[in-house]
């Protein structure tokens, strides 16, 4: 049911046109941050206003929307954003990754491979990968113009000098098509390889910082590294205790105050479908049924 007091997908048509033009320029120059006149949204900055505006500009009445936060469909902010679009656009929603046509995400890329025709919309807090090295927009813009990315390599190299390894575990910078260094949003670096050569369109929206950027399908995305310290995606060295998956990103759940803990898939849809298909982890499915 749509809320008749608002336009389809909340935003007015002129705002949507402005966002759509920015998205198209983003697609044309992969990894480049296109400035756009972000609007105040009915949720606070930091809650995904950039992603929400991009999703609103992309939604059609025939879309099926999935919203995740931390990989899960049932986290409060994901629930809130999904309800917002149900109310203002009247679209269908799903938790199943392969059924969705648009997936809005915060901090994760789904484990299930995306497909042609899907759009993954990322919520981005700080779109500028160089921001913590250089706080000034006027400077970082120049650095992108001149492809002056030495500072980033210096930072990563200082990590190696101090820790023996690159001590960036999420929000790990990437280079797009050999040109722009891009911030992949705070996804764990475990997810970085999924950015490259995806069949889906990937759109990034930063509302407070007023930037949109994009990765068309089949775009080459490389995580920055060094020959002697190659990029390594990492995750907890465990299997999922619920579904037994050995290759998915895991959340650590503290189970008691005696140091007890379990590891479960961060991607709730992935974990559920595996369990539905009969996969059982260390703590079995019985424990799960009991708690639900």
């Amino acid at each position: 049911m749509t809320d008749q007091a608002y336009n389809f997908a909340y935003l007015d048509e002129q705002t949507k046109r402005m966002i759509r033009r920015a998205i198209l320029k983003g697609i044309a120059v992969p990894g480049y941050q296109v400035p756009f006149a972000s609007r105040e949204m009915p949720m606070p900055y930091g809650w995904g206003t950039g992603g929400v505006q991009v999703t609103a500009a992309c939604l059609t009445p025939v879309d099926v929307l999935k919203v995740i936060d931390q990989g899960a469909d049932d986290t409060t902010n994901a629930v809130s954003i999904r309800k917002f679009f149900q109310r203002t656009a009247g679209i269908a929603v799903t938790e199943a990754t392969q059924e969705a046509t648009i997936i809005q995400t915060r901090h994760r890329i789904p484990e299930t491979s995306l497909t042609t025709g899907q759009i993954l919309v990322y919520q981005v807090p700080i779109p500028e990968p160089l921001r913590f090295l250089e706080p000034r927009e006027t400077e970082t813009r120049k650095m992108h113009e001149l492809e002056e990315y030495g500072l980033m390599h210096v930072k990563l190299y200082e990590d190696i000098a101090r820790h023996g390894t690159i001590a960036t575990s999420y929000d790990y910078p990437v280079k797009v098509e050999g040109r722009y260094v891009m911030d992949p949003s705070p996804i764990p670096k475990f997810d970085n390889p999924k950015l490259s050569d995806s069949p889906a369109i990937q759109l990034f929206g930063a509302g407070r910082e007023q930037r949109i950027y994009a990765l068309p399908p089949y775009t080459n995305v490389v995580s920055l590294d060094f020959d002697d310290h190659p990029f390594q995606p990492s995750k907890a060295p465990h299997d999922c205790d619920l579904c037994g998956a050995a290759d998915s990103y895991l959340d650590e759940v503290i189970t008691d105050d005696q140091g007890g803990r379990m590891f479960v898939c961060s991607d709730t849809d992935f974990c559920r479908s595996r369990r539905a298909a009969g996969h059982v982890g260390r703590l079995g499915s019985a424990a799960v049924e009991a708690s639900e």
């Binding site: 198209l24 120059v29 059609t60």
Partner: protein
């Protein structure tokens, strides 16, 4: 302004422009793929597809250049009435519309600035027909390679050399559209 200028717009703008944008997005994100654009009836010589793009992307904030035969009273009135877009000379345009020949020479258009490459023109080039044959396309959005019946290769190859500056292009014929962003490498087949 003739009464005809009032006709041929979207009947349900929020929904029709959303569907049209998604086609345009798919077209530009996957160079070489063909997509249908319907819902607008612009006056000739403008194609349906070009008309839909105009209704979807243009408004009072986007200066439009009409080239050659497209620069006629009917098209001017139609765009003015339906979008309010200012009609301007080529160098001021955010969108430029016309046949490939009429759009020439291409060095008139904005190709962006080194610090703001997005401030560049989007060409809407009207062709007689559009098929997945002809010059070979590679680059972002294309898994291996694609083919598209482009009017030439040299201009696009030249455009690619300026990356990240350059123009972006939609090619249209009847109700079909394909996209050709500046990132695409175009070579003779």
């Amino acid at each position: 302004m003739t009464p005809e200028a009032l006709l041929g717009g979207f009947t349900n703008a929020p929904v029709q422009s959303a569907l049209a944008f998604r086609s345009a997005l798919e077209a530009l994100a996957r160079p070489g793929t063909l997509h249908n654009l319907t819902g607008a009836l612009p006056p000739p010589p403008m194609s349906k597809a070009a008309g839909v793009l105009v209704l979807t992307l243009c408004d009072g904030t986007t200066p439009v250049h009409l080239a050659g035969p497209h620069d006629c009273a009917q098209v001017r009135d139609w765009i003015t009435f339906h979008t309010g877009a200012p009609l301007v000379a080529a160098d001021k345009a955010i969108f430029a519309i016309g046949t490939w020949a009429a759009l020439q020479p291409l060095d008139r258009y904005a190709i962006g600035q080194p610090d703001y490459p997005d401030r560049s023109v989007t060409l809407i080039a009207e062709l007689r027909a559009l098929t997945q044959t002809g010059p070979r396309l590679t680059g972002p959005g294309i898994k291996t390679e694609a083919r598209l019946s482009l009017p030439e290769t040299a201009a696009f190859a030249q455009n690619r050399l300026q990356f990240p500056l350059g123009f972006d292009c939609f090619v249209t014929a009847a109700d079909l559209v394909a996209g050709l962003p500046r990132s695409t490498k175009v070579e003779a087949a």
